[in-house]
């Protein structure tokens, strides 16, 4: 910094007049460059929406709104509907959140209240590193490690026990392929746990220590401090963090593609194969020729995914907004 100051100073001495004339000029150029870059980000989002919509237009024109709730996906007859991938997307994402949130909460609880000081940093870093692993690696790991475990151990056991029960048994029926909606949700859960856990940890850290200390001073246990002080204080942001995880799960592509089993029908059982929007687009894109109705249908799916994840991410950002900065 010292260096920076001294290099700025001689210039100011040398030509004060030139600086006075040149200064504001440089200022406005730089300010406009920054502002333009800012506007560019807005344009970028607009362009993404418009381009996807333009690409999707032929499919929307052909099938109308019914596209959204049509189950049929038949490339041979050139008839397309989005119900199966939409169902798969929502089902896997919601299941993943149900699996991930309790674990992420446990990790955040451990990192903020339970872990001794020396353990916090290494465990916290490990969790963040898990978040950094590329999604295709999760896909391969899921396909080669988790799928065999599901097929040989978990699914047969569940089918024999829970699968026999009335009502909920339907969810756990069918042959144990190992792949399917539940496996995809499981992989997604592993992927979003570190995100949700890291967000929760950061949010928990914003609780003023004096609140927690007061509760501890009254004799509260650590769980009681978490439940009755930390959680009520951070409730909004915690929900925001969960929504952030949901947004990630909705659009995840490669990890899901490997393990979901790829079938274009709605199956009632969680062990059944399915498709998500992202996995279907990734798989069938190669067979969609330029200008074909199929390409347009895939882009229409992309547009629907965009709308879905935009809503979820927007809500999450609104909830996560730091409350009254500086207050």
């Amino acid at each position: 910094m010292q260096q920076a100051l001294s290099s700025a100073l001689p210039a100011a001495h040398a030509a004060p007049a030139a600086r006075r004339r040149g200064g504001p000029g440089g200022d406005s150029v730089f300010e406009w460059a920054c502002r333009l870059a800012g506007v560019f980000v807005l344009v970028l989002l607009g362009a993404i929406i418009v381009e996807l919509f333009i690409g999707a237009l032929p499919a929307f024109r052909r099938f109308g709104l019914a596209f959204v709730w049509t189950e049929l996906w038949d490339p041979v007859a050139d008839e397309y509907g989005a119900l199966v991938p939409i169902y798969g997307t929502v089902a896997t994402a919601v299941l993943a959140i149900l699996l991930a949130v309790p674990m992420a909460f446990g990790i955040a609880f451990f990192l903020t209240e339970l872990a001794p000081g020396w353990l916090r940093r290494p465990v916290g870093t490990a969790v963040e590193l898990l978040a950094a692993v590329p999604s295709i690696i999760f896909g391969m790991w899921g396909f080669f490690v988790i799928v065999p475990i599901m097929a040989q151990v978990v699914q047969p056991a569940v089918i024999d026990s829970v699968g026999e029960l009335p009502l909920i048994g339907v969810l756990f029926a069918g042959p144990p392929f190992g792949t399917g909606i539940l496996t995809a949700a499981l992989i997604l859960a592993v992927m979003i746990i570190p995100f949700v856990a890291a967000t929760m940890r950061d949010v928990f850290a914003t609780v003023p220590p004096v609140y927690k200390e007061s509760a501890y001073g009254l004799g509260a246990t650590r769980w009681e401090v978490m439940r009755s002080v930390v959680l009520p204080y951070t409730r909004t942001s915690v929900v925001g963090g969960i929504m952030l995880g949901l947004g990630r799960a909705l659009g995840e592509t490669l990890a899901v593609t490997f393990v979901i089993g790829n079938a274009n029908r709605v199956s009632t059982t969680l062990f059944g194969p399915g498709n998500t929007i992202a996995s279907l687009v990734a798989l069938e894109f190669g067979e969609a020729g330029e200008g074909s109705l199929k390409l347009s249908a895939l882009l229409a799916l992309g547009f629907i995914l965009f709308v879905l994840s935009f809503i979820v991410l927007a809500i999450s950002r609104l909830l996560l907004r730091p409350r009254a900065k500086g207050a």
């Binding site: 920076a4 100051l5 700025a8 100011a12 600086r19 440089g26 730089f30 920054c34 502002r35 333009l36 870059a37 800012g38 506007v39 560019f40 980000v41 807005l42 970028l44 381009e51 996807l52 333009i54 690409g55 674990m103 909460f105 446990g106 990790i107 609880f109 451990f110 969790v127 963040e128 898990l130 950094a132 692993v133 590329p134 295709i136 690696i137 999760f138 391969m140 790991w141 592993v190 570190p194 609140y211 246990t221 650590r222 769980w223 009681e224 978490m226 909705l250 659009g251 592509t253 490669l254 490997f258 992202a278 990734a282 894109f285 330029e290 882009l299 995914l305 965009f306 994840s309 991410l313």
Partner: protein, 293 residues
């Protein structure tokens, strides 16, 4: 937060009090146990992934991985073209995306404090930060691949640039916000124009933070697969032409891992090991750079 939510009604006699105390401690222990189990499980996932990667990835590891290009199944070969393709596209994407990201972050931190446009830009950038990367791929496909007649390395680089921008924006803004206003006032008081204050003083004082942001961004785009599927497509032969389909590690891994050939699958694991180790190392280096500051 009141006492009532903590323990219920105050106990009347000592027996009830100790029973209540026992119950509270038991519940605390159960919850602590569950939290520890969650953490151990989470770490176990990481260990399992790393173990699988090293165990299966090292089988096909050797010098030929770095010196030979991909070959048809059964005839050996390496990953050279994929590695080079990834370096080119990630490098180009970083070079395109970083300046834009830094300018946007500067705008948010130095010019747009509290303005309506600034809030809109911040919101949109944060949404893009977590937007599904497959959609960025479809967007660039519509924008660059269809009109310009084919998949290209440059389209892949542009897709990666779009993904890195919001990452750099976030770190740049966060870092600039850390600078105390007194420093800005001191520099302005010496008669420096604002742009010199920002470029000569503010950037320098948070340089390590900016570098961290870029490193994290590179780590993120290096493993991206979905956007490249629709832009640079992948290429199983040697090609460094930016106007043609270009190979990359993630795409080669994707193609090979799903193939029925034993040697391709094990080469996919080697590629997966390479990309994961690089990404994790970048993350660790980024953390060290930030901590040194």
């Amino acid at each position: 937060m009141s006492g009532a939510t903590l323990t219920g009604l105050p106990p009347k006699d000592s027996a009830a009090a100790s029973r209540l105390g026992r119950r509270r401690r038991r519940r605390d222990r159960v919850m602590t146990g569950l939290a520890i189990i969650s953490t151990v499980l989470g770490l176990l996932f990481l260990v399992s992934i790393l173990f699988t990667l090293f165990w299966r990835g090292l089988q096909a590891m050797g010098p030929q991985v770095f010196t030979e290009v991909t070959r048809p199944p059964g005839s050996g070969g390496g990953l050279l073209n994929a590695i080079i393709g990834t370096v080119i596209q990630v490098g180009l994407g970083t070079v395109i995306g970083t300046p834009v990201g830094i300018l946007v972050g500067t705008y948010l931190a130095e010019y747009a404090r509290g303005s309506r446009l600034g809030n809109a830009v911040r919101f949109v950038s944060d949404v893009l930060l977590s937007a599904p990367s497959i959609l960025i791929g479809l967007f660039v496909y519509q924008l660059l691949v269809l009109p310009f007649g084919g998949f290209s390395g440059i389209a892949g680089a542009v897709a990666l640039a779009i993904i890195i921008i919001p990452i750099v924006v976030r770190t740049t803004e966060d870092m600039l916000q850390l600078i105390p206003n007194t420093l800005r006032e001191a520099v302005m008081g010496l008669g420096s124009p604002k742009w010199k204050m920002i470029t000569l003083i503010c950037y320098r004082s948070v340089m390590s933070g900016l570098i961290t942001g870029v490193l994290l961004g590179i780590a993120r785009i290096a493993g991206e697969t979905a956007p490249l599927l629709f832009t640079s497509l992948g290429n199983l032969t040697w090609s460094v032409s930016l106007t043609q389909a270009m190979s990359s590690l993630p795409l080669t891994i994707y193609a090979y891992a799903g193939s029925p050939y034993e040697d391709w699958v094990s080469l996919a694991w080697t590629g997966a090991l390479l990309i994961t180790v690089s990404v994790l190392l970048l993350n660790i280096i980024a953390r060290i750079v930030l901590r040194k500051a």
